[in-house]
Symmetry: C2
Subunit: 332 residues, 2 copies
């Protein structure tokens, strides 16, 4: 920057002003400075910049699983919103590893980002507290914070389970099963509650079985599907609510393609999330849609509010409603 100033025949402060407050500099001078910058190939040192100014216009987003298109949708939404405000979105993937998640939170913290977005798969109260203790803003995605300790954007996951189960009941299924794993993941717990509520609402004419899968992936679905396929047909549920699409696809594969149990005729299946994989499966999956893009947008909006409002800020939790998307695996 010194060199630029010398080349343009102005002082250091003027170069800085051209970069940060162009209005304070006469157009002619600014032009000369800009030419010098271009000629010397000058790149402003962001470290010095944020050290001196105490700020940094990028915002960090920490994601538990970029493999899941729900998270990718959140990224898209957040990025659109960030772009509108002129800030840059930096991404970090933890692959569901809490150690890595903490490391990334600390990294963004140390680099003094404007704020953070966190979409975790487990309780992250400690990490959030650490970040917030340093005065840095953070908004939680798809996971409720501990008693109002920060802003959050949630989906009504109880409603996710409820919509899925109600659809099956309304289309005449009476022996439901809920297949899930990872009750330490809050959305799973909530979806379970919703399923139970829908069954209860139906009175005694609908029964619910709860089946534990080994995990949430397609491979876990294969296992669960094999388990179901070993049953006599009359002992099979006639409607399945499966806690994730991947898991549902795995089950359908085993049931329908391998074991020859017809989906949806003999067993109807509803997934949760409405992932990118849902529509293109062997039997297109009926699923309850999570509005990922909107979640990302809302989260960015909350974060920006918090950054701007400062002391006056009040934490808020936005709860978005899910929607049923009907496809072949559980038709109307």
């Amino acid at each position: 920057m010194q060199d630029v100033a010398a080349a343009a025949g102005v002082s250091l402060g003027t170069v800085s002003n051209v970069l940060n407050h162009p209005a304070k500099v006469s157009p002619a001078t600014a032009q000369r400075v800009r030419e010098a910058i271009a000629q010397l190939g000058f790149v402003r040192n962001d470290a010095a910049r944020s050290l001196a100014s105490g700020s940094n216009s990028s915002i960090g987003m920490v994601l538990a699983d970029i493999e899941n298109s729900l998270f990718i949708d959140m990224v898209h939404g957040a990025q659109e919103a960030a772009r509108a405000t002129g800030s840059k979105l930096l991404l970090a993937n933890t692959a569901c590893d809490m150690t890595l998640q903490d490391e990334y939170l600390d990294l963004f913290d140390e680099s003094r980002v404007t704020g953070m977005l966190l979409a975790p798969m487990q309780d992250s109260t400690a990490g959030i507290a650490r970040v917030r203790a340093h005065g840095r803003q953070i908004v939680l995605l798809n996971f409720a914070p501990k008693r109002g300790t920060c802003c959050a954007v949630l989906v009504n996951n109880e409603q996710v389970g409820y919509l899925a189960a109600r659809h099956l009941i309304e289309t005449g299924r009476t022996r439901l099963a809920f297949v899930a794993a990872h009750d330490d993941y809050q959305p799973v717990r909530d979806r379970r509650l919703g399923v139970r509520a829908a069954v209860e609402e139906a009175g005694g004419r609908v029964v619910l079985e709860e089946i534990a899968a080994a995990g949430l992936t397609t491979a876990d679905g294969h296992l669960a599907g094999q388990g179901l396929a070993r049953r006599a047909l009359e002992e099979l549920p006639d409607g399945l609510v499966v806690v994730t699409d991947e898991l549902a696809n795995g089950i359908i594969h085993e049931l329908h393609t391998v074991a020859g149990v017809r989906v949806p005729e003999q067993v109807a299946v509803v997934g949760c999330e409405n992932n990118r994989t849902a529509g293109s499966a062997a039997v297109p999956l009926t699923a309850v849609d999570m509005p990922g893009r909107m979640m990302g947008q809302e989260a960015m909006r909350l974060l920006m509010d918090e950054v701007e409002a400062g002391e006056r800020h009040r934490h808020a939790t936005v709860v978005l409603e899910p929607e049923l998307v009907v496809r072949a695996s559980a038709p109307n």
Copy 2:
């Protein structure tokens, strides 16, 4: 940090040494310092740190399309390799927008990352030159650099096309078509060359038709599939090489599910990339696999070599070989 030093009763430099060169400090002192850090909730300011040291241990990865699981695989590979060396991987998604790509390259440049990984969808010579002019290292993924201007990890995309076409020819198909779009995307051009080479190799007994799609997505595939479905059966190719899996899935959907043209009996289809979607489609897709994870690992390795070797560094291009994965859409 000043406060920490005071609390621990040592000087500033000692605190710094505890953080950066623990061996230089006596265990007892180090312990006292660490306690002070914990008590005060001190977070080292990364801006000051990298300003003073001139370095920054994170590396930036700029991706054209996080929607595509090939890119996600590259992330996984790069992250594993980064973790092994103790550096952090920061991600940025450009959504195929060259303006955004340039902005992110500049952002990482300004923040003085150790180095960058770039997986673009278009020629990025200008951006690469800009970054390199500032002395920052960058490795290209899945796109050949202009005449040895940087390190790169490529897949032999000609071989991708070749393997796809040869598989169809070997399984008895004689009227092939290559469906593609975006010849400005280098891998597309190379795959086309490979398909032509395989057809030529077969002599006169195999003919090749080249079909232009509107784009590379599933929706574009639907369009292309509709176009094919309108043809009389005897005018239909009996083997399709489709330049991406998504495009292939779209075509299969229209042909097989909508129009009732049987895949693979009447038309066999081979995709390129072997995306996450390939295996779970209505007709599981035979596809040529791109080794994304390995690409990411190799790219990190090249980058680290370059960072460490400094002046002595020679650019290198690693070309990985693809592999055919046979599924139902074009069986053996």
